[in-house]
Amino acid sequence: MSEFLMPSLGADMEAGTLVEWLVKPGEQVNHGDTIAVVETQKGAIEIEVFVDGTLDKYLVEIGKKVPVGKPLATILQAGETGAEAPQAVSKPEKAEPVSEPAPILPPKLSAETVPTAASISEERVRITPVARRLAEQSDIDLAALRDKGTGPAGAVTLQDVEALIGAQPSTTKPSEMTGMRQAIAAAMSRSKREIPHYYLAHTVDVSKAEAFIADLNATCPPEDRLLLGAVFIKAVAKAVEKYPEFNGYYTEGHFQHSKVVNIGMVINIRGGGLVAPAIHNMENLSLGETMSAMHDLVARARSSGLKSSELSGSTITVSSLGSHGVETIYGVIFPPQVAIIGFGTPTERPLVIDGKLEARQSVVLTLAADHRVSDGHRGALFLSKINKFLQKPEVL
């Protein structure tokens, strides 16, 4: 028998609230299936299972806050009857102690107290992050918003929350930190406390990359158009394969290199806050597939539709503040990762090309990396490699 645990969806997560079961006891589950929905500081996240078997029984009641690493359910693998001692199947990436552990229901719940998947499917409230923030600030119980959503898939939007509170700004409590702000504060405080960052910057000519995508986009409908951001992410993914010390995790005193490249993409949430979900297995994605993955991820990040594996799986992060951002990004590493790449706003700058001064579209490419794992010399080579790919976008 295996236990399905509350996963850690990032170094900043201590606990999550179970809001919905998507699978009933007795039903088959397969590796990669989403079987529950958990409310976290980053919104409602669909939690996946990483074992094949049959859902045995629920161990936690809907609505309970559960610390990372605690079992949510038991799963019987092929041939098992439920008599064996349970084994953890979704070991949290890093289970940190919770200061005040939330009560967990004992495993022996009676049939009456455990809601069925059918009866609880109505429990979940799909809500956009900006709407969630206003609801939190206004002390609105999320349950009061059930069935009031007018957004995609019935998601509660900002207007829905405003309609409920009658748009009375006086009822908000702007001084209090929202859940997402607390999550960012916890992760970034840990990063600055524990990680000895070093920073490198390199100005890179992106005129070839821009011309490359303009050429492709000229014959494409908007749905198939590429953004420069996709080229940036793909270039980082290819370059980091050669510089593995920037791809992985620093945990328990040592660095663990990741064989797969999962790029965490920093996504701004309207009204404040951010999330950095991962595009998995970037080494296998074409440029077009990278763009589709980006498009999909941004849409779901902004409507609270991310999966647990996307929130916890990044092996390196890329941040870009886009077309009206800033010249240079000095990144803060998202622990336990060891590097973050920043792309400043593409801007026309005077560059010397073949001995001549030319105005070229360029970006300031930056690296913030963990000095416990790598040094500036290798960091410089890593940035140089990214640059080389940006000069040959056709090979990406």
Partner: protein, 84 residues
Amino acid sequence: MKTSDIEAILQEELHRIAPEIDAKMIERDEDLREEFDIDSIDFLNLVIALGKRFEIELPEADYPQMDTYNAMIVYLGECSPNIF
């Protein structure tokens, strides 16, 4: 198609992307992306949505002609004079 109709559709699509921004409060001749705080993916989504609403193609090469709220209304008016 009347300019007011075009503007109503533009406002509707911008509102989907940036619901917290009141179109009445923006600077109509300033950078559209900055006024509505939209990034490149939001802008791409806007182009996709407007293309469907007006049944027109909005080529990437024309993006500079859509860089402000007012410019976007003029552009859409020129692209879709025969609709409705």
